[in-house]
């Protein structure tokens, strides 16, 4: 297991290097001059040239990349062009907000997804099963932003039950209850696809297990149905479920980025969007890098969990 972990950690290094190179190249290849962006459209050519020299923009591409990367490795993500503050100090709280949203989505998809799957499996081929699985199928094919706007229309505009934007009430400031109320709709919009996947997996796994020979033996021995379901069948499907939940975290994070813009959730996604429209390249670069690093990290954790659950990989 130790060797597997070490190998997995070592794999991360070239992946992160590759990601950083892609992020830097992407921004470098985009048209537009950061010096002109900083000094404005009316700036004199001499002033732009001087700033380009100062920022090292006249250097060859690889030199610029190495310089940028060495700064990043020392924790310096650069300075925001529009806000003139260190990017790292600004983006870290945004990342936490994104993780709060992704965590909300995770709770929704685990609780409701497993719940739906269990009910469907235990009431298989009944109308309840059909309705729930139709909803799951519908959820799996629903774009997150469309669902976000629909939820907003229904629960914020028509019914007035939930707030449609932001993380807290701007008039009254932050509160925990306010946070929960603001979280419900974005969390649902983020979780819908993953929820559907988990619901369907729970249903099919549980039906399979409930038809297994050992369950029939338990029944024959007079063990109660609830004990069979919770103590034996559910435990049996836990491993594949955990595996799938781990895989869904990456999707939740990706979904959160789009949903943030619609609900004005102050996370990395809406910040990247705002930074793109305001031409703030250091912010965009760092934001994309943050997200990429999160994906890599989540995949690593997921692989480790799978390794723990799968004895063949442990060796």
């Amino acid at each position: 297991m130790g060797a597997y972990l070490a190998k997995r950690l070592l794999y991360m290094i070239p992946i992160l290097f590759g990601v950083s190179f892609l992020v830097f190249s992407m921004m470098h290849l985009m048209p537009g001059d950061p010096a002109r962006m900083m000094l404005g459209q009316q700036a004199a050519p001499a002033a732009i040239e001087a700033l380009r020299t100062k920022l090292g923009l006249n250097q060859p591409f690889l030199v610029q990349y190495i310089h940028w990367l060495s700064n990043i490795l020392r924790g310096d993500l650069g300075t925001s062009i529009t806000m003139q503050i260190p990017v790292s100090a600004y983006l870290f709280p945004k990342l936490i907000n994104t993780l709060i949203l992704a965590a909300g989505g995770l709770i929704v998809c685990v609780v409701i997804g497993i719940g739906m799957g269990l009910i469907s499996a235990l009431r298989k081929y009944t109308w309840i099963d059909r309705v729930l699985m139709f909803l799951a199928q519908f959820g799996a094919n629903t774009p997150g932003f469309w669902l976000a706007i629909t939820l907003m229309w229904l629960f914020a505009t028509k019914l007035g039950w939930l707030p449609s934007t932001g993380m807290y009430d701007v008039r009254t400031g932050p509160s925990f209850i306010g946070l929960i109320k603001h979280l419900i709709m974005p969390a649902f919009a983020t979780a819908t696809v993953s929820l559907a996947v988990i619901a369907r997996l729970t249903r099919s796994s549980l039906i399979d297990v409930m038809n297994a020979e050992f369950i029939k033996t338990f029944r024959a021995n007079g063990i109660s149905e609830s004990k069979i379901i919770w103590k034996h069948a559910f435990r049996n499907i836990l491993a594949p479920l955990l595996n799938m939940i781990g895989l869904q975290i990456g999707y939740l994070l990706g979904g959160a980025l789009f949903v943030e813009v619609v609900f004005n959730w102050p996370g990395i996604g809406s910040q990247i969007y705002a930074s793109i429209t305001s031409e703030d390249m250091p912010m965009v670069q760092a934001g994309v890098l943050f997200i990429a690093a999160c994906f890599v990290l989540i995949n690593l954790i997921n692989d480790i969990i799978i390794a723990f659950l799968n004895p063949r990989l442990k060796s």
Binding site: M30, V170, R171, I276
Partner: protein, 529 residues
């Protein structure tokens, strides 16, 4: 078990409902004096000298003031151009040769941090922009405001409340530029010394009717009434600007009462908002959405082709059917709401038959294929892709096949003024309350002359307009310049935005002037309950 679960859910709902009506330490009367505005994007820096973009000007000008300002108290219909009026200078004298400006400053004015406003403070602010040897000189501010301050040669303090500027050459748009979009607003020297050029925007301090309280980036900017304001006290206690970049989210936030008014409601939502009792206010700000024919493209070099394009586009139809009357058709490169704008001026009327004939005369009876570049979004861009598709359909009717090439806003801005010769034309939206705007978009050496139009006669008349010492002469020169652009079809104006704002019916006193920004001092909340 079930009963307990139901009870728990009911209690939770009651609890949440109860929490929603609490105000967490903010008094109800305070909330009733708070205006929450949903703005279309995150704001730039709260440093007026450095900031770019209309969204930010609208916030900065509530905190900061310039030597003079525009009177924004009148609604759009009652005056076409917001007149200049005194602000921190009570009056000014301009010498006959246009080289000396003497400003008489308002007495007993203090910045929001208590720093006195006087001639020394004015000198400090301008040295930040023009004196490279000054400790607080700011390259970024200097570049941003170069169009306003580059002709200032020197400053002389006459006394504590009088300052004289000497210009390198006459600059007819100087006063309008000081008051308008590139407002050189006065910031507290104490705050600038304390926080530095880079830190100031986090702690802005001006003399304006509202002072900065808090900014949570991406969430809100909170301003509160300045209790020591020298002018008329604002009626609102607080103003909160909330960036909501998604337009459906803006509409939902307004409808659910989370914000009291929104900027840029989408055209499709206007009718339904009106039916639900929201007020829609329009203006006629200096805004033109226009095409720039590429003078390096073989087809576009031909005057008749450019004229054919101008006559083939149904601008009126686009304004009415596509943009639901949230814009007016534009027939002049000059932006509305400035002294040289003539609302009756029509460059080319809609006449597809004549357009087809012109195209045949140009040697293209069967038309040709060309590329049209546009952004997919962006500030002031309205709905660029459906608009481009409308143009594409209109031009197809006369035989010009248009291939659309779209970019997201940042990429587009980076390449906008650098069209390759294979591109026929591109598009931009802009405008200023000074006719000087024409210099930007069409002067041969201007960086913002995207089509690379070059006409010595145009450059000559613009030079004359810029250095004229008499306003009437300058205005006439700018009108001549506009006629030359139209004659050459060098810019093809399409529509001008009416800049709608949608607001709850309890928001009173909000006026949309003919400008890209507004005055909030007369706004108040009056709820019937």
């Amino acid at each position: 078990m079930k009963k307990y679960l139901i009870l728990l859910v009911v209690l939770l709902l009651v609890f949440l409902q109860g929490c929603s009506s609490q105000t967490s330490g903010t008094t109800q009367s305070n909330i009733n004096k708070t205006l929450v505005i949903g703005i279309e994007s995150e704001a730039d820096v709260l440093d007026p000298d450095r900031a770019g973009g209309w969204v930010t000007y609208r916030i900065n000008r509530q905190i900061h003031e310039g030597l003079l300002t525009e009177d924004l108290s009148a609604a759009s219909k009652s005056q076409s151009v917001p007149p200049l009026k005194p602000s921190l200078a009570t009056s000014w004298d301009v010498s006959k040769d246009g080289l000396h400006y003497t400003f008489h400053l308002r007495k007993n004015v203090k910045f929001q941090d208590g720093t006195p406003f006087n001639a020394q403070a004015v000198e400090f602010n301008f040295r930040r922009l023009i004196d490279k040897n000054f400790k607080y000189y700011d390259q970024r501010s200097a570049s941003n405001l170069t169009n306003t301050v580059s002709d200032i040669k020197s400053m002389k303090l006459i006394d504590d409340n009088t300052i004289e500027f000497t210009m390198k050459k006459p600059f007819s748009a100087f006063l309008r530029m000081l008051a308008g979009s590139s407002q050189v607003a006065m910031i507290s020297p104490t705050a600038l010394k304390k926080y530095g050029n880079n830190g100031y925007s986090e702690h802005p301090v001006g003399t304006g009717p509202f002072e900065f309280q808090e900014r949570v980036k991406g969430e809100k900017i909170v301003l509160v009434r300045n209790p020591n304001y020298w002018g008329k006290e604002p009626k609102l206690q607080r103003v909160i600007f909330v960036p909501l970049s998604d337009d459906s989210a803006r509409v939902a936030a307004l409808e659910s009462g989370q914000v009291d008014m929104i900027a840029v409601p989408p055209p499709d939502a206007i009718k339904s908002l009106k039916e639900k009792g929201f007020n829609i206010e329009y203006g006629a700000p200096p805004h033109v959405w226009f095409l720039s024919p590429n003078f390096n493209n073989p087809y576009m070099k031909n005057l008749k082709v450019r004229q054919a394009i101008a006559m083939a586009i149904d601008r009126k139809g686009m304004a009415k059917e596509l943009l639901k009357n949230t814009v007016t058709p534009a027939y002049s490169a000059q932006s509305p709401a400035n002294d040289a704008y003539d609302p009756s001026f029509v460059d080319y009327p809609y006449d597809p038959k004549k357009a087809k004939q012109l195209l045949a005369e140009a040697g293209y009876p069967n038309g040709f294929t060309t590329t049209f570049e546009t952004s997919v979004d962006g500030s002031g861009q309205l709905i660029p892709v459906p608009m481009a598709e409308w143009i594409q359909q209109d031009l197809a009717k006369i035989g010009i096949k248009v291939k659309l090439q779209t970019y997201e806003w940042i990429s587009y801005l980076g390449k906008w003024s650098d069209m390759s010769s294979s591109v026929g034309f591109n598009q931009m939206s802009w405008g200023m309350s000074t006719p000087y705007y024409l210099y930007n978009i069409a002067y041969s050496t201007s960086g913002a002359n995207a089509g690379k139009y070059s006409n010595p006669a145009f450059d000559k008349v613009v030079n004359e307009a810029m250095t004229a010492t008499n306003t009437e002469t300058a205005t006439e020169d700018w009108k001549k310049a506009n006629e030359l652009i139209a004659k050459d079809a060098a810019i093809i104006p399409i529509v001008s935005d009416k800049a709608p704002y949608a607001m709850a019916n309890y928001v009173k006193g909000f006026v949309v002037p003919n400008e890209e920004w507004y005055d909030l001092t007369n706004v108040y909340i009056k709820k019937s309950n």
